[in-house]
Amino acid sequence: MKNKFKDNIFTYSLLAPWIITFIVFWLFPLLYSAYLSFNRYESLTGNTNFLGFENYTRMFQDPIFWKALTNTGLFAIIAVPASTILALFMAVLLNSKMDGYINSLLMMLGLPHPEKGWLLEPCTSLLSIIILDVWINAGYYMVLFIAGMQTIPAELYEYAQLTGANSWQKFRRITLPLLRPTMVFVLLINTIKSFQVFVEILVMTKGGPMKSTTTLVYLIFKNAFDHTDLMGYASAMAYVLFFILLILSILQSKVMKEKV
């Protein structure tokens, strides 16, 4: 009996860092955020007024919210296929000759140099940020694709060679179907990341010009920290983002299970 008690003390002291971190920095914030989303909160005075669903109804009537949601969706619709196709293309080329040194070059990270003209035009500003995003992320997806390709047995290609298949047929009939789990994983991760785009926008355009680069996360940030009374409203938006990402994540874990 005493041993069992000692055992439990050992186990829970090992787990304590996670239990504390989870409760204080994840569970409590999520609950508190839900509470805030039903209230009007004034950051200067600390006054809270219960509003019920008013923040949510207000959001769905707010043209800026729809604009931000559209921008975010547009971002994902362009950035996800662009970076996935570029990454797949590079992976195919590199997988045919794994030399290593070119990998290093492609993977290097760095800070971008913004082009003023493009960012100041509403019609090209979002596109500029998409290009930057593709540049930042394509290398990561390429590495995932290469990892996926290396699990494809070489015999399949040898057999295809014997039957006289050309490179495109090998890619279309062997690589692409067997890469499906990696492909779905990349597409989902890529979409989830696109819904979170923030830093590039904050640093490069501040949501402008004419709100053309205001995305969901940027709008949440702006409402929460640039106004004194919109934290509750921003929390409601954060919850909408949370549910969008939750659905995408559940989809992703379903797909991952399928893979295993």
Binding site: L14, W26, S104, M108, G110, L111, P112, H113, A234, L245
Partner: protein, 269 residues
């Protein structure tokens, strides 16, 4: 012939990826780069180290560098220690709430920080931790990504070694820190690199949770630099190059471990 075409495409793509880095370095080595009218003039003008020497000697940049380094180091050490203890408990100990608790790890792995930025900010206000190292270190000392990574690794280690040690009379703590942890060295290397780099590059929380220059980190410092009225590109790019140096160095040294980490599951920023 085919090989030549393949190689040229690869070189072209590499150039596309290196081009912005080349720009960054080029501007960082030119005095007053904005004074040049054409790219050609800029390219042929003499190289100079003045941006670097001035950036290094400015008080604030050194301060940002130290802040970033201290924060990233503490968070890395915390993760090495705590991810191991938590992962070990999940992998080897039997306890009642293991399923629920493991689900919380996987759940948090999927939640992006953006969703909780408002409540975390409010919490830090209440704790009085705004503009302190605490707010940038304490919440991140144990990451779900790290727990999951080390958990999978411990699962792959044969339990016999631990059993043998237990028969020899080794205590639980001894087994964990003297037997299991050394065996985890390869995965802890991967974890350290990832945690260090993600905290070194981290922007969102350092940006929200600090307003004082005393506690500012490098990425936030560079962003503020960009926000000034007239951008001094030479100094900005020297600063960016300096802050990218540890990233590039770590990548060159640990390329294999970084790629292992990248492919071992979903990663969070």
């Amino acid at each position: 012939m085919k090989k030549i075409i393949l190689n040229s495409i690869l070189i072209l793509l590499s150039l596309m990826f290196i081009y912005p880095i080349f720009w960054m370095l080029l501007l960082s080595f030119k005095q007053n780069p904005e004074a040049f009218n054409s790219f050609k003039d800029l390219l042929v003008s003499p190289l100079s180290f003045i941006n670097y020497s001035e950036t290094f000697s400015s008080d604030s940049f050194g301060l940002y560098f130290i802040n970033s380094f201290v924060i990233a180091s503490f968070v890395t050490i915390g993760n090495i220690l705590f991810c191991t203890t938590v992962a070990y408990a999940f992998a080897r100990r039997k306890f009642k709430i293991s399923k629920i608790l493991f689900a919380t790890v996987l759940g948090v792995l999927l939640i992006p920080g953006h969703v909780v930025m408002i409540p975390i900010y409010r919490l830090m206000v209440e704790l009085g931790w705004l503009n302190t190292y605490f707010s940038l270190i304490i919440p991140w000392l144990v990451s779900p990504f790290g727990i999951f990574l080390v958990y999978q690794y411990i699962k792959s280690i044969p339990i016999d070694i631990e059993d043998a040690a237990r028969v020899d009379g080794a205590s639980d703590w001894y087994i964990l820190f003297r037997i299991v942890m050394p065996l985890c060295k390869p995965i802890l290397t991967v974890l350290s690199i990832f945690i260090f780099l993600s905290n070194w590059n981290s922007f969102l929380f350092p940006f929200i949770l600090t307003s004082s220059e005393q506690i500012r980190t490098l990425p936030v410092g560079l962003a503020f630099y960009l926000g000034k009225q007239s951008i001094d590109w030479g100094h900005l790019m020297a600063g960016a190059s300096i802050s990218a140096t540890p990233v590039i160095l770590l990548f060159i040294l640990f390329q294999k471990q970084i790629i292992n980490g990248l492919t071992s599951g979903a990663l969070k920023d």
